[in-house]
């Protein structure tokens, strides 16, 4: 087989996650069960090969914790917003599809941004352009240019936060040069 061998370090987050799922499903976190789970995780990761996720090699826990707290708050806000719109606005809601160019070219970063954006208020990813890292976002209750600018800024700020947590050095430098949290206009 000609495929590239994934290094153990790259595989480690996946293996840890698989062991946690194994322990959770057996409701048993005793060392014996975890070791057996780790063996199975290794076999599964080797036999059912997936393209490795390219991590940047850095993860800032201090920035991740506030991000997670803010994220959970936004999930709550999003739910109440949709509830409000569903009950009081209903059929007359106005939407928009907006192109938002991202800074990062890494698949992981685009995926993470897309996931977070889909769960926070008012936005959903309709289309991803991998070659130019552009997300096409469907925004609910977007009526004016100001709303569009707000949506675009929200997406790019989310990406900036994610880069600060787990982006590469180069991406970090790009953000710093930009004077975060400044925003860029769309390259329509």
């Amino acid at each position: 087989m000609s495929r590239k061998r994934t290094s153990f370090r790259t595989e480690l987050p996946l293996l840890v996650w698989l062991v946690v799922v194994w322990g959770a499903l057996w409701r048993d976190f005793s060392p014996g069960n975890l070791v057996f789970g780790a063996l199975i995780a290794l076999v599964v990761a080797r036999v059912f090969y997936l393209p490795p996720v390219e991590l940047s090699g850095r993860f800032n826990v201090l920035r991740a914790i506030p991000f997670v707290v803010v994220f959970l708050g936004k999930v709550v806000a999003a739910s109440f917003q949709v509830l409000y719109l569903a009950v009081f606005r209903g059929p007359s809601v106005t939407n928009a599809v907006v192109a938002v160019p991202l800074r990062s070219r890494s698949d992981l970063m685009v995926t993470a941004t897309g996931h977070v954006i889909s769960l926070i208020p008012g936005s959903l990813v309709v289309e991803v352009d991998r070659s130019t890292s552009t997300l096409y976002i469907h925004g609910i209750n977007v009526r004016s240019d100001a709303d569009i600018a707000k949506l675009r800024k929200e997406v790019q700020d989310t990406e900036a936060s994610l880069i600060r947590i787990m982006g590469t050095r180069a991406e970090m430098d790009a953000i710093q040069a930009e004077g975060w949290p400044a925003t860029r206009g769309a390259r329509a």
């Binding site: 996931h115 889909s118 309709v126 352009d129 991998r130 569009i148």
Partner: protein, 147 residues
Amino acid sequence: MTPNATGVDAAIDAVTAVLLIVGAIMSLGAAIGLLRFPDLMSRMHAATKPQVLGLFLVLAAIGLQMREWWVWPVLAVAWIFQLLTVPVSAHMVGRAGYRTRHLHPELLSVDELEAVVLRAAGQRAEEKAEGEPGMPRMRDGATPGPD
């Protein structure tokens, strides 16, 4: 729930009750949204957001009532899988819906994807008509490969 509970038990029961009710209201909100929103993509908003929070609240209530430590990892895994899969499914449905024109253009204040899709469609039609494989192709958003 324990009948005639006092002290800590009563407090936990009260919190559980609040979590269950708010969670149920969130799921109800998702259902109302599905009925009342006018097009597919606004419905996807209703199908994703309140439901994720609703599930979280109901799972938290289960965790409080079970009083067993082992239940928390199971609930956490269940919710994390929900967080990971919901945006993907919403994206796939929304994407397919956009491509098959299941949308009401009059409800969109701006549509920056339309031009891109039209351009790609036009290019494909042109290529078919001329049959020239060597034509320079612009890479744009409407044709991300299956990679």
